[in-house]
Symmetry: C3
Subunit: 349 residues, 3 copies
């Protein structure tokens, strides 16, 4: 517990998790009550005095000693660490994670800490090194009794049934649902099964039943989300996704196209986009724009202004995409009518 008063290297992130281990000893779940990014220097000194770099097992008494030390040596951090007080009497396993820098993931607990950083709004999508994420996230049965290793599930089910006890299996996935870890302030989530841990939901985000937000994807808020925000996609403020609206994921989009939506955009119900959009863009309900879609441009006077592939419009603002009902053409118009159409198509909450 020596403290080098100056020159303490900064930490990228820190957290202590209530963890669950499989019978095999494998870690299958980590819950960080209060993940920290770039903790203050005086707190860093206490952290590094108490915990080894990387991932290490922690006893409740060691956690209590750490918290006591924080109260003395880094009192400004007491409030932010208050959620850990509960864990000091934990009956479950505890692990500390001390990350000096944002490097490739090398442990399940590191993977969980990074997912927590995203959902706690401490990191935006596409800003963290998520290399090896899938490697270090085990596939887990998420049940009414918490995480169960997939290999141990059948026996657990047999026992429960024999005893007439109900064991609900909500999912079998590498990612748990976010709300079992954190509900960020100022959001509504109508069906929590559709938000993965690692999603970023900004203040004022409403996700309706048909909405979906993957890990490393964001609604910056405020937003009305009734469609799907794929991995890597970021949706700007005041942009809405209608029911079943689709955004193509960055992992899948022909080459290096990363989908983003600017502010005040609307993707109508059952519509979709394979190109990024700037601000104040609208895609009519039912129309899917892929990067390769051929599009007729219509200028502000309603006159034809040439043809392009949609990818040439990537990132532009004030576009209105429609399919003409009489010609079948995809038209891209300047956005004079966008406000009215927005009112027309606006997702109902």
């Amino acid at each position: 517990m020596t403290a080098a008063a100056t020159e303490t290297p900064a930490l990228f992130a820190f957290g202590i998790a209530a963890t669950r281990l499989a019978a095999s000893g494998a870690m299958i779940d980590c819950y960080f009550p209060a993940p920290l990014r770039a903790p203050a220097p005086d707190l860093v000194r206490v952290i590094t005095a108490h915990f080894a770099p990387g991932v290490s097992a922690v006893t409740p008494s060691a956690l209590q000693a750490f918290l006591t030390d924080v109260g003395t040596r880094a009192p400004d951090s007491t409030a932010v660490l208050e959620p850990y007080a509960e864990l000091a009497s934990a009956t479950t396993a505890l692990h500390a994670v001390v990350l000096a820098e944002d490097a490739a993931i090398s442990h399940t607990a590191e993977a969980y800490l990074k997912l927590h950083l995203l959902s706690h709004r401490l990191a935006l999508p596409n800003t963290l090194d998520l290399s090896n994420l899938f490697t270090h996230l085990p596939n887990v049965a998420w049940t009414s009794e918490g995480a169960i290793a997939v290999a141990e599930l059948p026996a657990a089910q047999h026992r429960a049934r024999a005893a007439g006890r109900h064991l609900e299996v909500h999912a079998v996935d590498k990612f748990p649902r976010m709300t079992n870890y954190v509900v960020p302030s100022g959001v509504r989530i109508a069906d929590a099964s559709r938000i993965r841990l690692g999603a970023y939901l900004g203040e004022g985000t409403t996700v309706m039943h048909e909405g979906f937000i993957n890990f490393n994807a964001a609604a910056l808020g405020p937003n009305m989300v009734e469609g799907r925000i794929s991995q890597g996609v970021v949706v700007g403020a005041h942009s809405d996704l209608g029911g079943s609206a689709s955004t193509m994921g960055t992992l899948s989009g022909g080459g290096n196209i990363r989908i983003t939506l600017g502010e005040h955009c609307l993707i109508g119900a059952n519509a979709g986009t394979g190109i990024p959009l700037g601000d104040r863009c609208t895609i009519e309900a039912g129309l899917y724009i892929t990067a390769g879609s051929r599009v007729r441009l219509i200028d502000a006077d309603g006159q034809p202004a040439g043809e392009v592939k949609a990818r040439e419009l990537a990132g532009a603002s004030d576009l209105l995409f429609l399919r003409n009902g009489l010609t079948g053409q995809i038209e891209c118009r300047t956005n004079r009518r966008a406000i009215e159409l927005n009112a027309l198509l606006h997702a109902n909450d």
Copy 2:
């Protein structure tokens, strides 16, 4: 307990709820075992003798006294009030709601009572005064331990995790799911997370996994619902919504258009409508009709019969909407082939 034998003013609605209060004292959940609309005059006399107008706290013994009095003075109402017997031994808080008329909502318990009236089939959508509904419905974490105030959720989660106990957060929303309050007779609901309290499901309604019904929205039944019924939308008997079919909500539709579907309609999979439809209308799978869509009319002889905007067809019957695969035009045909198409597109259960 005096009874004015005649001239008792009628009541709009009445109910006694098992309620849950946050630590702050705020009401966060109300369960009415047997909401009543327009109770019989003799029952009204007993109600008004026992309970104040509006919302009031009730003790189990006061509830028991009320039920005893009903048995004596309004015996015809004993059966309908039978579900309340269980609450007379309740360990949870109880509140009575006595509404003289259908006025703007002024209390959480009133909001819940009106949502119950809809789901108990005691009121059709768009017939109740739902003013101030959102104001009086708090945002709540709906968990495996019931309603938890959003502000109290983190501490509850920390405690559960420290103890190794699983706390599932199903939703964070102003509206709970209907099935935790009432399952009306003769329905099937494949995924209950997609039906909000306040939805109206008529006898013979099947809602498949992709189906959704908002509050103040109805499937009058019988219906096969694999698509989304937005707030304010009413779907008539024998009309079906294919998978991901979309109906635009009344709050969003350009001006005052209220979407309804008549009887024997079909909206195909991945299709949608922004206009109300009469009877025996069909929209082909994958086609979205907005109010502004330009449509080619085709008469009963297969001849072109002019062009209209879809909104001009609002509410008409016997229409078949298709997009011609060779011209890209949206065509609206008389419905000679509708029966065959219906067979083709009909949602599979």
Copy 3:
């Protein structure tokens, strides 16, 4: 317990279930830890010595006697029956089902056994006699306390609420969710509420949140499923369904068309098919092909090659379906570009 050493007739299927009965005595749920198809002859002899044909109630001690006898007389089957050991101390009801042949369903327990065979990968869709399935599957409330008869649900809800206990109703349906019965090896299921018991998920199948697989429907694996696999539909290896992609069910498709997808197909997001596809076929995001869709053929040189109705292309391979953005026509091209498009549209996990 006499054993006719030879000439024992084969059995179609066998299983012992932990069952739940309603207060009325009706069977409402059956869990088979280890359903068997075509058990080995020596095991058949033990089965038929212990259990009557059809469905019969079994005591734990009778189950134990059976297992003991298997150890002696059919020792090669001990391992496969090991999951039944837990039931030998069951406090719930037990029933044996012995089916000599695959005939029409005549009992709830038979229906459940056949659904188990499908989800345990012991039978492919469309290979079992499912006649009378709906007749013998009761509509059940699937709750956090397990199956509850619909008629008994209100009283259960009243009691739970009065006691301040939470009773979650996940569904009211004839089919339970598969994962509460079996999670086949090598799968991921992001939202278990969308996979019915009776679905067939092959090794390597990932079903994302928007994916859905009905009973008697299959993803043979490996597959990425973000769309809907309807009853009767089989999707071949390495074929993917984008978000909200739709496959028409066999019960609904104009006449006798049964939808299948071959290998290495892709149905893009918000797209759909009403015709079966061969191998290496792609449907562009947002495009719905119905059997009646008129399609322009484009040959390998990019030249027009005639017009057909989509049903004429049923089952063909190497087709790429697009809607031309400038003409609105549905085009079917030879598949030279399919690989690139596949990369473009490929569902993101």
